[in-house]
Amino acid sequence: MTLSISKAAAVGTEARAAPRRRTLNIAIDAFLLLFCVLMILPLLFLVANAFKTPQEILAWPPTIIPQHPTLNNFFAVIGSTPLLRWIGNSIAFACLSSLCIVATSSIAGYILAKFKFRSLHIVFLIVLATAIVPFEVYMIPLYFQAQKLGLLNSTWGLLLGYLVMSFGIFLIRQNVVHAIPDELLEAARIDGAGEFWIFLRIVLPLLRGALAALAVLAFFQAWTAFAWPLTVATTQDSYTVEVGLALFQTGYTVDLGRLSAASALVLVPSVTLFVFMRRHFVQGISNSGLKE
């Protein structure tokens, strides 16, 4: 009774406060919208610069929207640098890395979640402990391993650093624990299903969402990798986009227009991919360590 009264009172105040609340909401929306515009403004500037003529780039004060938009920068940069090859290298590297990480993480995550042997628990603790070690810490020995195998300046050399992902194993394990009941596996075993069949036909389909999230996460991790490709890939033909662009901009003549055109060519597809994959990506990230 008291509850319904207080509820009615609350509704009453709400009705009275409604117009004020509306203005507040509009104000917040406007503020957030402004903030969002500020967040992507640097990227818009970059894309705008890509269409500017050399004279306009050097103009003061700087213009925001190109006055005589031109595609020359794009033609010039594709003609004078192996940009397309770098993009190809990056795509190959990111796809392969994503594939390897999904494969290794799915099986290891499943086993570590559902097979309760003490020795496996120790393995899991080791995996978890290495998850916090930054890549840059163990990069030097890894470089010599790649060198010994003759993998420098190749996609395989790049891949060496991105074959497994401790966090990926952890992510899949958590998902298996939450999403796959023991009873389901037991039932399949009683029906005479082999362990491998169970993994392939029961576990993997149930993990689709988590695997997609991990694949997207792994792809972007490799796509934005910098220190490792910079060290391993030292010939122009083996650069990834990130390395190619970074070295291109340190050249003696920095042509801002071309640089922006190259950057825009790299940005636009990855941002588009992200917007499409957003749900998977967000799911993957928000799972990171927030759940017990």
Partner: protein, 295 residues
């Protein structure tokens, strides 16, 4: 019998992954620890054991100290900007969850986080450019004379902090939004019935409840701050165009020593220092979380 078959399957299925894991993770980590105690110049076959000499040399190395200082300033600078701002923006987005624009807000704040580092850094490089950049043009509107953003050692650290915060913010917002969603709604209703304004509820109810999230975001931000490299590499090249010399950071110093100065053992000892910092930060996070659990 059945147990044994399952055990065999587990081992057989896990072996390839574990073998790769040991090969490209465990071994190099252990090798880094080992190398840090040796002197190795990359060319000679000899690798004499020198104990902690590398570390005592680090203590007197001015370049290393500069790098450590810069990196620490950057990491904490990013933290101070990202965490409060991320929480506030996430709170507002959560508050307007019903709005038709909500998904636009979420996506847009997150875009900088997925954008490739180097193109993003180039965009900012133009903004900060002393002669051509819009930042100085904008400041000029208020009668502020142009500043050499990328050529002054102090200002260029600020620039790196701004760039890194811009990138890290989307992640913080995302995690905080998840945090806000998981907060019990009943508490906010109770607060409202008690006459608390939205702002008061945010301050007295949401912030304390979000403490674990804040800790998590802080540690992740700090750790990635200590790994800063590409941003400094692109943004802070010196007047001759040598990348990153203006703002020397830890990763750059490590790579320089290993592959330019051929002091591999020495570089490994720097990497060990970095590892120690990251471990320390993680331990602090865990102990703070446990403290909260004990209360």
């Amino acid at each position: 019998m059945l147990e044994r078959r399952r055990w065999l399957f587990a081992v057989a299925a896990l072996t390839p992954t574990l073998a790769i894991f040991a090969w490209v993770r465990l071994y190099p980590i252990i090798e880094t620890l080992r190398l840090s105690l040796f002197k190795w110049d990359l060319i000679s076959k000899k690798q004499p054991f020198i104990g902690f000499a590398n570390f005592s040399q680090l203590a007197g190395d001015q370049r290393f100290q500069q790098a450590l200082l810069n990196t620490t300033v950057i990491a904490f600078g990013v933290l101070i900007i990202t965490v409060p701002l991320g929480m506030a923006i996430a709170g507002l987005i959560h508050y307007r969850m019903g709005s038709r624009l909500a998904s636009i807000f979420e996506t847009t704040t997150f875009i900088p986080y997925v954008v490739s580092l180097v193109p993003a850094a180039m965009a900012w490089k133009w903004i900060f450019d002393a002669r051509l950049g819009p930042l100085n043009a904008f400041l000029g509107l208020f009668g502020i004379s142009p500043l050499p953003w990328l050529f002054d050692p102090m200002l260029s650290v600020v620039c790196v902090i701004v760039l890194c915060s811009w990138q890290a913010l989307g992640y913080a917002v995302l995690i905080y939004i998840v945090g806000f969603r998981n907060l019990p709604v009943s508490l906010f209703e109770a607060a409202r019935l008690d006459g608390a304004s939205g702002l008061q509820a945010f301050w007295h109810v949401a912030i304390p409840l979000l403490k674990p999230i804040t800790l998590y975001v802080s540690v992740v931000t700090l750790v990635s701050g200590f790994n800063v490299y590409a941003q400094a590499y692109v943004l802070a090249s010196d007047s001759q165009g040598a990348p990153g010399r203006q703002v020397r950071v830890l990763v750059m110093d490590i790579l320089d020593n290993a592959f330019r100065n051929y002091k591999v053992g020495y570089a490994a000892s720097e990497a060990v220092v970095m590892l120690a910092i990251v471990l320390l930060l993680t331990l602090v996070q865990f102990s703070l979380l446990r403290e909260r659990g004990a209360k």
